[in-house]
Symmetry: D2
Subunit: 472 residues, 4 copies
């Protein structure tokens, strides 16, 4: 029995990395890149390498450090791609690890995907009708089948044709024997950036993965852009019709690492400004500002800076959280939060406290934290959330709860405040959120989980009332 410490969290489903270099150990650099992207997925990891003729993949369940404990793929090559994944329980199977590696009429192809297709189910059915078989439940397999069936001549054209058929959110890194290809969907839901490492190129979900390998951030791959890297250099192509850009705002709120820069916007700066704005909106006063570490910290610092109320560490997070053994009977007890967080009595005792966190999903954890602070002597706990209430599920690659489990889908703010036992509860307004992000136009982002305005629609069966996860 393992306890899942992230049950009350939004879960990013993936991180991707790709490298083309004739001067570096591509597998090792991919390893380090994935290690920097580990926060985007802790369930499985994989690396595929090619040397121009052979292609080899090594995949497994667990953290990057665990999957490659015995070493990296043996093949010495010049292109590699990698993937980390956090998936929903149902699909937590060895078969679902990525990158996928297949042979098709054109040779070998390997593919890793971050995001979520909204028409995967239909495409899969259509492909099955044409005689395709599926061995996994990941979207990558749908995409690779489309590519293999394309009647176009070049791999670039095959991919482009396939992309016209898929809908939803996708960042892809694709590897053939001689090309590294990066694709970002026309809405640009998920981040994907391009870096230069010596004479070679790197593609990654976040710029922190460029930093770790010493690559320089060149720019972000644009929505609707496909970059093709080969010995001939980098070639950029556009595909699909122009669509409204819709970068997932939650990348700034919660998913991405604060040291990453996404579409020109520093994540750190965005969070800091969310905290400042939240301070202005809430108009709260108190003795101290604390954060729910680590995700609430940057906004809490912004809140403190704006108000002048001192920031302090009121909660310590156990840094060895992970797959911790728990006996079945223990699950009933209130163990969860104590395993993860502990109050700093010196900080909180006798204080009125502003506690900043990034978001509330189900609300159960927040309630336990408030109680913990009060038991440690806090006289008042004002909860400040650096995002608006999450009222709608995500169909673009984030595992939010199903709708009825989202506390803000069924409860008003005052009811939520009562539920979590806070003295007051303040969410950042949607407008305030938009203003906090200065480098991305506010109409170039997705806010669907806040306002139900889905830039790329939703899965057919879901729209029709079906279950959220179709293939599980």
């Amino acid at each position: 029995m393992y306890y899942d410490f992230r049950a009350d969290k939004l879960r990013e489903e993936c991180g991707v990395f790709g490298i083309f270099s004739r001067h570096d150990d591509v597998a090792l650099n991919t390893y380090w890149g994935l290690y920097a992207l580990q926060h985007r997925g802790q369930e499985s990891a994989g690396i595929a390498v090619t040397d121009g003729s052979e292609m080899e993949v090594q995949r497994g369940m667990g953290l990057v450090g665990e999957v490659f404990r015995q070493g990296l793929p043996a093949l010495r090559g010049h292109i590699a791609i990698g993937h980390v994944r956090y998936s929903t329980t149902g699909s937590s199977l060895p078969a679902n690890t990525q990158p996928l590696l297949v042979t098709y009429s054109g040779g070998h192809i390997s593919l890793a995907h971050n995001g979520n297709l909204t028409n995967a189910h239909e495409l899969r059915q259509a492909l099955e009708k044409q005689g395709s078989v599926f061995q996994t439940s990941v979207d990558s397999e749908v995409i690779v089948n489309l590519i293999a069936r394309s009647s176009q001549g070049t791999i670039e054209d095959k991919i482009k044709e396939s992309l016209t058929r898929i809908k939803g959110a996708y960042c892809l890194v694709i590897m053939t024997e001689d090309k590294l290809i990066g694709v970002r969907d026309p809405h640009g839901f998920r981040p994907l950036c391009l870096g230069r490492l010596g004479g070679g190129w790197v593609i990654a979900s976040e710029s922190c993965a460029l930093d770790i390998v010493g690559a320089e951030l060149v720019r972000d791959i644009e929505p609707g852009e496909m970059v093709v890297i080969s010995d001939a250099g980098l070639k950029s192509e556009r595909f699909g019709q122009k669509d409204r850009k819709a970068l997932c705002v939650f990348e700034y709120i919660y998913f991405a690492r604060p040291d990453s820069i996404i579409d020109g916007q520093s994540v750190y700066e965005a969070r800091f400004r969310m905290g400042q704005q939240l301070a202005r909106e809430s108009g709260l006063a108190a003795d101290i500002v604390i954060s729910v570490p680590d995700s609430g910290t940057t906004a809490a610092l912004g809140f403190s800076r704006e108000t002048g109320i001192p920031y302090a560490e009121g909660l310590i997070k156990n840094r060895y959280i992970g797959r911790t053994f728990i006996q079945p009977e223990q699950k009933k007890r209130d163990l969860g939060v104590r395993m993860k967080l502990n109050a700093v009595r010196h900080t909180v005792q006798g204080k009125s406290i502003i506690m900043v966190d990034d978001s509330i999903v189900r609300g159960t954890t927040s309630g336990k934290i408030v109680r913990m602070l009060k038991e440690a002597g806090a006289v008042a706990v004002h909860m400040c959330v650096s995002s608006p209430p999450i009222g709608f599920p995500c169909y673009y690659g984030i595992d939010t709860a199903v709708r009825k489990e989202l506390i803000a889908a069924t409860k008003q703010v005052e009811e939520i405040r009562q539920f979590i036992g806070a003295d007051s509860l303040h969410y950042l307004s949607l407008d305030g959120l938009k203003q906090s992000i200065t480098n991305v136009a506010s109409d170039a982002m997705c806010y669907a989980c806040f306002n139900c305005d889905y830039p790329a629609g939703m899965p057919a069966c879901t729209a029709a009332g079906g279950n959220k996860y179709v293939f599980e």
Copy 2:
């Protein structure tokens, strides 16, 4: 570094097992069945189960006991199939474990294969041209793609249509949500038998797997027969055109367990008679008859019975042989045979010896054994082989060496005798071999590796001079 104790051996590539029962633990029975078939493949194992709607597979590298150390598939079902595999080095990859489990337009299907298709390469190319992708290098994936693409209505018809396209050797166990299907190719190269367990049915590569689960041997699946087992009972169908039956004679000589009965012929009896015949043909006299255990023992007993020369144990085989750790530098030394066999000095000292083994592949091991016996005091070692010289490779599921590594492909018997240092060397004649097997007509067996008469042709590229293993 692991030392492969079977490098100088013919290697069977697979064993399969299937069960349909509403009264037994189908996964557990499959586990036991595979355990009894373990001699047919030690590299990987897998079990797939269905309960009528879900389908689950668990696969891994290693012995049955290792792969399922942590337990069997969790799903409680009424149908299960299983597979053990010994493959050639190149394809020794986690991705190649079986049974395969896929979804296609008709639902779930799981498939396990024993044998080797001679047109897999062409079929694969054709399928790829039609847009199929391949994630493994096993024939099963070709077959499952054919089934998925069939335009026939029922699963039985889809399978039958697919079977008309594949050539070579194949025994298949296939599982859908509600059916267990067993197929044996029209030549019947590999064995496949049918058993009854209470109200349920069992299919297995050898009857020893029926024995272990307490099932009763009903009969063998016939060449060109497909049996379909469902809640409606067992239905038998024929497919393909009638072909000459060609059961692999090596199953009797070496592969199968002596306690199995294949196509009505006791393996034990066949081996015993080969030994008797070899005695008659060789006309040898000596102090004792010994065997190279375990494969030579039954024939040695037949030799002894025929001649009256006492049988004795002259060599002891270490029973803990397996994946034994060896340091690289050790490989140069003459370790191999000493790790596996040791002479019984009391038995051999001062004696002239007839040593019986089933076959000679490369001849290196035989040479070392002869030397070991002489060092232990044997005054003469006459090597008797209970099969004819292996001069040609197998394309029907057995990993013989490539042709130029087969000692009998390049050397005359007298040269081989000199190579292994025996005082005399006697092979069983092909006629003698045929006479030893009384329950199967002699024209109903394959002897191609002895006489180059390939009942199902050979792979196109091979015929054209290409390499033996096309997908590696």
Copy 3:
């Protein structure tokens, strides 16, 4: 090849935990206690349990979560003790895991030790002369041999007699079939506290381990105190002659978790005040204050509060640091710091920065961090260290480097500044350090690694110029 991310750090050698309760799952609570103490030792973990007659121990290499992945000791009991350990490379052996569990003339005894005896070598030699044998290189084995050889009648008296013979730093948790005993050395070098859990008792290295199991902090075990817990309740005894108290000041500076309270002093408060004092002493001005996370954070907040210079996150620490696979050739490259830390460009670019860390050991890491900040655009980096220069090794349970590797043992502050490339370098003064800790008298602490005033002497052989680690 694994890269040790802590090579340039002081290493705490142990954490201990004990529980006596007839109403709780003692093994499970010990598991959680160790999990909260994991920062005190990541190399091995162990739990011993007794039910009044049997005694069982389970120990292994790795994190608590790894060692007990398959479950806890099976024995259901009413007393348990546990241990986590970080040891020097040489003694990183399975045999050295704790708690030790032995039988002796009085029955079973299990013992776990945090600290370092200064006369272990002599005692061991003396015991060996009397005929003792040693199977490990841990001090616990010396202590348990002394207890076993004591001529006293009761276990309490045996222990007390043994304690008169050992010198140095030790906190012990000892378990017999019916007693849980906690001992803290007369100097009180290492922390040890006492908690109440329902009707039971808990002993732990730090109060954060009481918090996690829901126990209430009763008080600290005093230097020279032995508490004996049995069904008869808690009994306290003093042993040894009165000595000057010498709590390790480094517990406040670096080792302990900030949410722990040690000898009545909040660790958080101490660190915060160190930062404030450092601000006053350095008199620095700059654009922002950042910390080297996590150890520098609390002092950095104090520094910021005192000066009014805003605190910001300038470095992000990868939270998946651990036993990360590194290929040999990579060690030459400047990988280390990039794996662990990344600069937040938005925070540091164009700024003059005060960077606060707790201490400098070898100085190599600090130099790399300064360089990283400058590469990210910092215009000036002033390094502020919330402790005095470490000029002398520790003999009381902390693995400081050997003296010549301590940068402050061989270099002046200005030389160190040049070595690390900072624009200025400021250490907290010893007096300033003393003033920062308000709840412990300044003459009741050890500062030997700063001022060479060793409260309990040093090992004989070391004093005589020998090597620091005597048993390795």
Copy 4:
């Protein structure tokens, strides 16, 4: 849940190996030696090495191949000793693996033990009274404590003094920094032989371990002999008073490998003659003689040779027996024997059969085998046992059942026959057994488990009616 296939067997508790060589890889040779001795113990394995100053040990639970899967001890040395162990359930603990490695006043010493001391309990109590502590429940720890406490000057004298105090069965290999020492108890219960490997020396429980490393059998270590091997060569000493020699006859009957030569007697020859004698004593006639493989085979061949009744393989033993996973509910079913053995229908059908096995312990397995043969069509099964009824437990290193579980302790032969369902049952007479062993005088062997004449007495507490296993 693992099923123990050896529950109805006598279990040898250990095998030992030692090597002194300046020209060979001593750890690797020990590895191979243990691999050849694996049949003497499958529960744990260990190897200790010294290079003259350092000493290193690596031990673990499992087969030799498993324990050293990741490699051998890193230390390159010139002396190594090794141990394999099969222990009783209670003591199946990691702590009980051997060789033991300790430091004492004289330096390092490592020790491995095969046998069982009858006064271990008393010695342990006495040592505990003197202040010794014990971390394991193996006799080796008692012996090493005696050595450490000896007041003698040289290690040889210390050992000799210690040996005067221990009683029972013991073969020891002991290693100091510069000596390899082999000891066999004055009765010589367990075998221990000496071999020459180039310029070096090898000591092993059985000569098959010399064969595997290519060493030449020089002679057996004599009862009451201690050999000391160093750079000065081999020195032999006698210790203790002269005692009657009492080599365990069961080594010939069952434990040892048939290819070993013990005290000048070929194990193979002994077993063969037991079968011949059994044939003469039983006067049976039947269609065929079969064996219960592997232990019954050699005697069955002797039986066949004597009577002229043809020998055939009637039972096939699954060669992948080991730690096979079994679900709890399965244990109730009659799985055990079917997992291990299968009848060869061709051999047994319609035949009257003489079935030879080496011994009967509890009788449950024999009963199941008889039933299996009858189900396969045998018309009569006459069970012939190549040893007398086991009526008494062993105190000299063999894990026989406790007395009341020995079927021959409570039942007459006719009752046993009925219990196992055989048509007739014939045990070899004690006299017949004695005559079968020609190279060892019949008064120089132990037969206590047959005739209750214990050459070295029995443990005090047992004699007084206590439980057999004292330390568990």
